[in-house]
Subunit: 428 residues, 2 copies
Amino acid sequence: MRFTHLTDTCLATAIGDLGLSDDAFARMLMAAAPAHDRLCQLCESDRLPALTVVRGDADLDAARPLAEDWRARLDDVVVLGTGGSSLGAKTLYALADGDGPRLHFLDNVDPETLTVLQARLDPRRSGLLLISKSGNTAETLAQTLVLLPAFAQALGRERLPRHAAVITEPGKRPLGEIAARYGLPRLDHHPGIGGRFSVFSLVGALPALLAGLDVAALRCGAAEVLDAAQGAERVEACEPAVGAAVAVGLLQAHGIGQSVFLTYRDALADFGLWFRQLWAESLGKDGTGLTPLRALGTADHHSQLQLYLAGPRDKMFTLVMPGTAGQGPRMDAELAGAVGAEALAGRTLGDLLDASARATAETLARAGRPVRRIEVAALDEATLGALMMHFMLETILAADLLGVNAFDQPAVEEGKVLTREYLKGAPS
Amino acid sequence: MRFTHLTDTCLATAIGDLGLSDDAFARMLMAAAPAHDRLCQLCESDRLPALTVVRGDADLDAARPLAEDWRARLDDVVVLGTGGSSLGAKTLYALADGDGPRLHFLDNVDPETLTVLQARLDPRRSGLLLISKSGNTAETLAQTLVLLPAFAQALGRERLPRHAAVITEPGKRPLGEIAARYGLPRLDHHPGIGGRFSVFSLVGALPALLAGLDVAALRCGAAEVLDAAQGAERVEACEPAVGAAVAVGLLQAHGIGQSVFLTYRDALADFGLWFRQLWAESLGKDGTGLTPLRALGTADHHSQLQLYLAGPRDKMFTLVMPGTAGQGPRMDAELAGAVGAEALAGRTLGDLLDASARATAETLARAGRPVRRIEVAALDEATLGALMMHFMLETILAADLLGVNAFDQPAVEEGKVLTREYLKGAPS
């Protein structure tokens, strides 16, 4: 196993009255069984390409040569995309070791940020990767309408196709028309894969290839988790179903509507943001949902732990804990001893991170707060693939238990229309 | 005014049943009046130095020459500190224009992060600023026990005092003993100022001075807000009291326990994290509290807005909206027109950011969600000082309304003890 999923300290037997009772847990697992069956059927009939894409690699045929070419020629690649077109790739990029072009994720429309970045880029050694499923995302179009003409001017239009590429759905799309106009490579965003579920598709894979990451290992780790979920004879053996049952069970039994996602490596900071979108947009609808809160250990111990331990009893906790014992530089034993910090003497930074994570899990459980621990052996592409697949499955199953559609986001349309009206200077 | 504080769309008259009724609002303001009086008395009797420090500058006498010297000699300064010893300075540093040494905030104990940073530093051109109120924060000590001996080795011990300095409370403190041992400059952390309230003290001011920021303007903007709050004859004229009354009123009337803090400039991203600590640690105790959620527009429109608009009715929203209309690079009008994106043609990125923020405020209000808007004219030191003072006052007043002590954090001690036990390899 690439990680161990431990939910015992979410149960009343371990933490007392705020935990899930054995009865309530058993009822939720019973409810999760048909949800698990439905999920398996969707996978078998190939109706969830966001998941089953990890079982092949034919879709990468167009991406690999582009990535090779850009890696050989370019120092910087700006990924223009927001939300689901950015967070998955950002999460993967945290594993990159600096071999290959620097990736810059431009996922906001801050005027200063773009200006500063643009001033640093040499277009002759830079690429623009434009990603939008609809091809009509205002932020991505806006950035494109600034940067692409500037690149065309600096490089000459004939050289632009070697410095820019588009990922968007097939059909007539503004971003597609821009690709056609300048003769840019255009890769297809799979129409059956939504943005927040797109990390295993080209949307995550092309940036990962640019960064020199092992996309085959990523998909392999993900496929193992998918295979295990589909192969589980009983729902209790399907870890994503157990996770969903615990989360929805705690909501229904105790009104625990907040889900703190606390990771213990800086490289997992963006993973927390990826999960936050997945969980929020998939479950937050029809007046229900579970609110995700992203946190990073140990820094947030010094910011949020007081609230977590002693505030309202409305939160459950998922701690993602890579084993870091023995890792990193060692603290000076003599100096530590001289100033009364014997506990640190000769220990590594990883020892402290590991001890802090374990202490926090135990402290939360002692305070009667439901805590799930995800213990990770090694932080690499396969493990990240496994973790991301776990949470995609868990999210889909939690949506089923809540009775909502995991795959739509109907509420955000009004704001987009209104933004255009404000832009016209004529709000209704 | 450096910013305008608009709470009308938190009231039932504007947004319907999830808003605060006129009666409930009036009752909360009545409760806030004695809290406001108490706050004014504390300020007048000089018992809240975290606030009144902004009225002088004598405490900067030791910091200014150190900052001048380091700015002249150093390219990189690593600030070792976590939580309240980091987030305020980080927030200010977002305003820096690159004139002066680069600041690196090492607020976590990730072994990889420290290793990568250390490999990039040239000790001869680098400084270490060690900040911990107690002088005994495990993370800060751990980083110190790695980096300081390495610097001593690289530079020779006799040169170390020109490359490292300590801010900690007076008295016998591990970090203070380290300063004495190596002969490092030691500046006093004011004993009456808690970490999360320390941004206006040396803890925020020294890093700001290193970055070439205008600390006088920062304190001036803050002093204006403090003066206005103390000078308010009636509680309705004290904006921080109005903000606290709305937040606590919505909790008590409708169980709205989550406070989304949504800022619309990348430079305000860390401001959101600073607020998140201030609000969480000050209010989250005795089983009560209001949970802060940090969000960044427009990126989080594509991640969280679906949940905000259509999920559970348990959130209020504070939108911090700097006016960005007309700012930043302009979108190509011809290309926009050619691909059907007329709304963007010839607009600036700042126009889009501004329109998106206003549209989101309106969309949330139309969905019946309580929204407070903070409209900011210019993003500079004085404005940030004013905003930070506003939220410090609001937090203190909200704590009073909730009946909790804003200034302690009693729950986190157990985890620290347990961390040491795990480090010893002998958990109890």
